[in-house]
């Protein structure tokens, strides 16, 4: 991939929170890219730093946050060096965010048409009538039925799913370059969740936004993401394409996450689980932060932090198991099954490429 396709480049980001107990090292040297038009999913447990990462991008961290180092380049400019006034211009116009709870992210005293139109009036200086007309179009686009009659309703008159559609309408009204979705469907029922996810995919095709999708639900990730970054204890421990992460994961933490989620086919008496709890980031452990919970931990894990090892051009994992000198280990059963599936998929793909070889290659060159 060429660098000019990256719309956002995060490098060596480190964020500490000053507390009475000491500095909580919430983000520890995180680097990643977001490409134009893609969906990047960041997965991890609560406290792994996924939300802090995106808040830092938006410039919305709490007052006690200290950005110790790093750069966040958007269109070649470092967002961390921007003034608050500049960031206000970027938020809601270039980068927009959908929050988890549609009940609390809307203003209960403002008509929803006005709420959707507000970004247009503020960022584009549009007249109220014109902005409201555009808001109405957006309401139709996100699937709010009977939009003409509902434009003057208040948030409490809508259901949770409809409210989340309104939140999406507000976020997308300015056709932002980047949309950050922080657990956008966690508060919703599965049937409503499916509708909202489909809507997001549709809209992404229409306005070609890049999405950073934060969630702990691997099922949702499988359906939404082009690429996945797995975070643990303030670090990215593995990243790759969605197929690489789901069918050929390399980091033991990713193994644990994938196998501790029962699928509809899981049986047996015991669900594989990750023992213990995440480490305290006031004083992160030496070496690999996951070592204490890792059944595959090596001696070096407690001494030295693993660097990223390359698995493929798009797939990297930070675990000593990938070091050439590391002993060979067999991943959990479910992961082995997934890797088998990956191998067959890979073969099929190669066979396909061989038959329609030249065409495919030309497409890739463009």
């Amino acid at each position: 991939m060429d660098n000019d396709k990256n719309i956002l480049e995060v490098r060596d980001l480190q964020v500490d929170f000053k507390t009475y107990a000491g500095d909580v090292k919430a983000i520890r040297n995180v680097s990643f890219d977001l490409r134009k038009g893609e969906t990047l999913a960041i997965v991890g447990e609560s406290g792994s730093g996924k939300s802090v990462t995106t808040r830092t991008i938006m410039g919305l961290n709490a007052n006690n946050a200290d950005i110790a180092s790093g750069t966040i380049k958007y269109k070649g400019e470092d967002l961390l060096k921007k003034s608050e006034a500049d960031m206000e211009k970027i938020r809601g116009q270039d980068i927009a965010e959908i929050f988890q709870d549609p009940m609390t992210s809307l203003d209960p005293t403002m008509k929803i048409g006005r709420q959707i139109a507000e970004p247009l009036m503020i960022h584009k200086g549009m007249k109220k009538e014109k902005a409201l007309a555009q808001a109405l179009e957006m309401m139709k686009l996100v699937g709010i039925t009977d939009a003409e009659n509902r434009i003057n309703d208040y948030p409490h008159q809508f259901s949770g799913g409809m409210r989340q559609r309104i939140v999406i309408a507000i976020a997308l009204i300015n056709y932002p370059e980047i949309l950050i979705a922080d657990e956008p469907t966690t508060a919703l029922d599965v049937t409503i969740q499916a509708q909202i996810l489909n809507l997001m995919k549709e809209l992404q095709d229409k306005i070609s936004t890049s999405i950073i999708f934060i969630t702990h639900d691997l099922g949702v990730v499988a359906g939404m993401a082009d690429r996945v970054a797995v975070m643990y204890a303030g670090k990215i421990v593995e990243y790759g394409t969605v197929d690489e992460i789901f069918y050929n994961p390399k980091h033991p933490y990713t193994w644990g996450l994938l196998s501790s989620m029962p699928t509809l086919d899981t049986g047996g008496d015991e669900l594989p689980s990750i023992p213990g709890t995440p480490p305290d980031l006031l004083d992160p452990p030496k070496g690999d932060a996951f070592a204490a919970r890792n059944a595959y931990a090596l001696k070096i894990d407690t001494e030295k932090e693993p660097p990223f090892f390359k698995v493929s051009d798009t797939h990297y994992a930070a675990t000593w198991l990938l070091h050439p000198d590391a002993p060979k280990v067999t991943p959990p059963e479910q992961i082995v099954e997934r890797q088998k599936q990956y191998a067959t998929m890979h073969k099929e793909l190669l066979a396909q490429q061989r038959t329609q070889g030249p065409v495919e290659e030309e497409e890739e060159k463009q």
Partner: protein, 319 residues
Amino acid sequence: MDYENAEKILEVKHLKQYFNVGKPDEVRAVDDISFDIYRGETFGLVGESGSGKTTTGRAIIHLYEPTAGEILFNGKNVDTFTSAADHREFRQDMQMIFQDPYASLNPRMKVKDIVAEGIDINHLAKDDADRSKKVEDLLETVGLNKDHSSRYPHEFSGGQRQRIGIARALAVDPKFVIADEPISALDVSIQAQVVNLMKKLQREQGLTYLFIAHDLSMVKYISDRIGVMHYGRMLEIADSDEIYAHPLHDYTKSLLSAVPVPDPEFERTRQEIAYDGSQENDGKTRHMVEISPRHWVRAADDEIDMYTKRAHEASLIKD
């Protein structure tokens, strides 16, 4: 589960739970549901928010007076209890684990007093030493350290707090535990730990669970049988493998089709099935019909043939 010789521990018959009865804002949270739970099984209750699953659980443990219908526990109707001893026994035998481990523990009480509250009320401990011993044993059972007993809830993580909640429920030696979304507030890696603990306790102590949740894959994993609720009604009940492999009711099909699966290949081809809820309110009388062995569907008389045909196609019925 061997259902041939299974014994019913709980029978819910035509339970109705209405709120604000007779007022313009009357809510029919649970509207005429019937089902049985057998001793030693896990019965999963699934449905969207507002479907009445939590209300059902609360009605069973008698946090509400039912509007109509009866609930038999061990063959006895709780509403007809007159003696205090009967009530006390019922309160001991049936316990509840709550969804939010942060809100369900009193922040001003030490863990040992939280866990021992039921022991104290029911006078289950001979003396102080016995009480401490019981608490320590319980903490150990749920995978906590006995040193934890003199700490306060805020010193624990979500998963640990849920373990305290489980220890508290087990303190009075219950037979039947209602778990209302016990893992929804926990992280994925911790969910598996708590589910494994619940399964282990069931094996060791012969507990019966009513497991209420909206996470369908976890419910399938832990449950022997599953009931699907919608709009306050029970629409389908069957063994968990069967209901997932061969759902008969349109709503169950729609619900299952919406579950995201951690498999990108599957997700790319997933087709959601839409469901029109208005067909439930077309005025026909419907009741639970056993379409194939132990597979119940809520159907009107003229719909039975359709469901039977579906069951034939899924070869649930053998000729």
